[in-house]
């Protein structure tokens, strides 16, 4: 469903993403893990069509993003880490506009919008301006918009940022349901518990390169440990915590 082949992205002399290939089949939740500045967001923004790769190929639902971007984007739902929403529109207006962008029209749109608002617990805010929303509410509204057109592939950049526990549980449920219906989900996250709990497979990216890929068990094997949690495995693979500097008094 989602494929990238040998993606490279350079900013001047700096290589942010270096020869990354990924494949996320239908129904899989794929975690994209890595320290800050590793290239996760750059990679996701390239797949979403916001950034142009320096080289490489992106295929969404069989369509090349460079050759046929409209058809490729029609299959995608994108949830950015810092979403843009028109502040002076109401939640309902924003969703209606979003539906139009993805070619949804007719009588069914209103019902679909109501479904999404109900699913993300925003029904009572339908006629309120977005500018009065909290960060978590905005995040839920963006998710409503991303799922509105029933995408076959979903890109999520840091899904849990700003969500309360109830919201986080809701999102996990929605992702599971979408994946059970055959959607491919590529999710970048810092929250290792989320990755461990939800992802079928995980890719770990460091300095723009994938250094490990597999299920949680496979990654555990790669790190050569028997740790129950993913955190120590992640730290071993990505090169330690840096905490010793604080302990040594150097920071």
């Amino acid at each position: 469903m989602l494929e990238t082949h040998n993606i490279v992205k350079t900013f001047g002399g700096f290589t942010a993403v270096n020869d990354v290939s990924l494949a996320v089949p239908a129904g899989e939740i794929h975690g994209f893990l890595g320290p800050n500045g590793a290239g996760k967001t750059t990679m996701i923004r390239m797949i979403a069509g916001l950034l142009k790769p320096t080289s490489g190929q992106i295929i969404v639902n069989g369509h090349d993003m460079a050759v046929d971007p409209e058809t490729a984007k029609a299959s995608l739902g994108f949830i950015p880490d810092r979403p843009f929403i028109y502040e002076k529109l109401t939640a309902g207006e924003f969703l209606r506009f979003h539906a139009g962008l993805y070619g949804l029209d007719g009588n069914g749109v209103g019902t679909r919008i109501e479904e999404m608002l109900a699913l993300f617990e925003l029904t009572r805010w339908e006629h309120e301006l977005v500018e009065s929303f909290s960060h978590g509410m905005k995040q839920r509204l963006v998710m409503s918009a991303a799922f509105l057109h029933r995408p076959q592939a979903i890109l999520v950049d840091e899904p849990m940022v700003g969500l309360d526990p109830r919201g986080a549980r809701l999102i996990k449920e929605v992702f599971r349901r979408m994946s059970a219906r055959g959607a491919a989900i590529l999710m970048s996250t810092h929250t290792l518990e989320v990755a461990q709990e939800m992802c079928d497979r995980i890719s770990i990216i460091v300095r723009g390169q994938i250094i490990a890929r597999g299920t949680v068990d496979e990654l555990r094997g790669l790190a050569g440990g028997q740790d129950e949690q993913l955190t120590p495995v992640f730290l071993k693979l990505t090169g330690g915590t840096g905490l010793q500097e604080i302990d040594d008094g150097t920071v």
Binding site: F11, R45, A48, G49, L50, L51, K52, P69, E70, T71, A72, K73, A74, L76, F78, P80, P83, F84, I85, Y86, K88, L89, T90, E93, F97, H98, G100, L101, Y102, G103, L129
Partner: protein, 564 residues
């Protein structure tokens, strides 16, 4: 997939929501701006009407001058529109936040182009249309033009706006393909500054006041002829002028009208092709982070280090100066303002008051007060743009100050002193220099210099205090803060304050001048009244300064909402 007008819907819906849910002060602000706009339009209409009527008295020469004048007006707007198109396109095509939403959606590049270009044309040209419309209506009314003239005017203005904006957008596309968009914005800001400053200087040094001198009338044709050049007939401004002039005379000039429309269509099609080829690369580049400017400012730290300031004030000062220097839009506007001030001072230098010897002394001293009032208004403009937004400029980072062990009183007073020094230097320099150029009475020189010092304290205090009382932490830029409810309230209070001070100073000063010219001594009562007026001016200034700052500190201390 949606047609391009669909992409403009959020603007329509957002405007509707703004009207429905207007905030406090929105009506007052709208009314004030509407009145100002109406006054400007009325002045333009009257000017155009009067001039056209005057020219009608010169038979063929008048027609010739009107014809050249029309194409000259359009020529002025042509360059303005082209530059405005460059700057607007940078924002609408590359930097606007909603592009992140639209580019990931399955919207055809062509439709996105059409929507953004329509937005660029309307944003870049509305001001030109607002200025041109009363001028053209004035010309039409003075010549009793037929209704067809007004229809032609609309049909001429549309392609006339599209052509330069399309060219400007093309320049932006080329610039962004070479530089990252955010760097291109800096370059454009500077270009804009140079463009505006040179335009103002050019207009000033052309000495248009020569035109109103009766004795120079024979030179008028020569003056206009110098504005013509061999390439003029190839410009859309010439075509627009010719089309309208023909229509004014009840004829129709299909050739120039067609030239306008075909060129508008042609440039749009060419731009669309270029956009399809290069847009995504430019947009992708626009996502890249910009490089920091003025990162090595050790001299600034050293200079601030020797100033008699507390540690907190020193840190706040260094931070504010660095933020100011790194925001091109801030200091480029300041430089533009300085250019205008220079032109203003130049006006005083060229004033030829000695032509009327009997009155020159009186007029010079009256001008001294006009100058003081003007300096007060300049001060109000500078402070609303640079001092009033000082607290709001902390933006989402204001939590740093609020959560630090920093008394908010110290924070606000630091903002006051940072604002006061440049404002005081600017307005004091302006007043002293202009009075020197005018050669006013030494007594007035002292009065004006002292008055402007007090006015600086009052005005900067008022701006700082009201800025703290009506902060807009969520605003995108300082101009938005200046245009907010608090900013408008400040301008109203500031203008009233300037008028009150001028009235309090002008009466005793004129009394003094009157008696001195007639060599009559002032009575004790008169001297007492004069002193009372001067003291009242001082008291009003000190009270404005002190009470505003106190109210500002209190407002900050009571700020119980988190910055947006």
């Amino acid at each position: 997939m949606p047609a391009f007008p669909y992409l403009l819907l959020p603007i329509v819906w957002a405007s509707r929501n703004r009207i429905r849910r207007s905030e406090r002060g929105d009506f007052v602000r709208a009314l004030m701006f509407a009145l100002i706009a109406l006054a400007v339009c009325a002045a333009l209409y009257s000017g155009a009407f009067w001039l056209t009527r005057q020219l009608a008295g010169y038979e063929e020469l008048g027609d010739y001058l009107l014809r050249i004048g029309l194409s000259w007006v359009f020529l002025t707007f042509l360059s303005f529109l082209a530059f405005s198109g460059v700057v607007t396109a940078l924002s609408t095509f590359f930097l606007s936040d909603d592009l992140r939403l639209l580019v990931v959606a399955p919207v055809a590049g062509r439709r996105l182009f059409h929507a953004r270009f329509a937005r660029t044309v309307s944003q870049a040209s509305w001001m030109a249309v607002v200025f041109l419309a009363p001028v053209l209506i004035g010309v039409g009314a003075a010549r009793s033009a037929p209704a067809a003239f007004y229809v032609t005017a609309v049909l001429t203005l549309v392609p006339f706006a599209i052509i330069p904006v399309a060219l400007g957008t093309g320049v932006t596309l080329a610039l962004v393909s070479v530089f990252p968009a955010r760097r291109a914005r800096d370059i454009l800001m500077l270009m804009g500054l140079l463009f505006a400053a040179s335009l103002v200087l050019l207009l000033r040094f052309l000495q248009p006041e020569q035109l109103v001198r009766v004795e120079s009338l024979p030179d008028l044709t020569g003056f206009f002829a110098t504005l013509q050049s061999p390439i003029t007939p190839l410009l859309p401004s010439f075509w627009a002028g010719e089309t309208l002039f023909a229509s004014l005379q009840g004829r129709s000039d299909a050739l120039h009208g067609a030239a306008l429309w075909t060129t508008a269509l042609g440039t749009t099609v060419l731009l669309r092709m270029a956009n399809e080829r290069w847009y995504f690369s430019g947009f992708s580049k626009a996502q890249e982070a910009r490089k920091a400017r003025f990162t090595k400012l050790s001299a600034l730290d050293r200079i601030v280090g020797v100033l008699p300031l507390s540690g907190l004030q020193r840190h706040l000062l260094v931070k504010d100066i660095k933020v100011f220097l790194r925001d091109v839009s801030q200091w480029s506007q300041l430089l533009l303002l300085l250019a205008l001030v220079l032109v203003y001072m130049y006006n005083f230098r060229v004033l030829d008051l000695d032509r009327i010897p009997y009155m020159s002394s009186v007029i010079k001293n009256v001008y001294a007060f006009v100058n003081l009032a003007m300096a007060g208004l300049v001060m109000a403009t500078v402070t609303v743009r640079f001092v009033f937004p000082a607290v709001s400029a902390e933006g989402a980072a204001f939590w740093i100050v609020r959560s630090a062990p920093v008394p908010l009183r110290d924070f606000l007073w630091s903002k006051f002193w940072i604002g006061l020094v440049p404002v005081l230097l600017l307005t004091e320099g302006l007043t002293i220099a202009c009075n020197e150029l005018l050669g006013v009475d030494p007594f007035f020189k002292v009065v004006a210099a002292v008055a402007i010092a007090f006015m600086s304290f009052a005005m900067v205090g008022l701006a700082t205090g009201l800025g703290a009382r009506y902060p807009r932490f969520g605003a995108d830029n300082a101009s938005q803060v200046a245009g907010s409810y608090g900013g408008v309230a400040f301008m109203i209070v500031a203008v009233l304050y300037v008028m009150m001070i001028i009235a309090l100073i002008a009466w005793p000063s004129s009394l003094y001048l009157w008696h001195r010219l007639r060599a009559m001594p002032l009575t004790l009562t008169q001297q007492t009244l004069m002193a009372a007026c001067f003291l009242a001016a001082v008291a009003v200034s000190v009270a404005t300064w002190w009470l505003s700052m106190r109210a500002g500190v209190r407002a900050l201390q009571q700020l119980d909402r988190a910055p947006a």
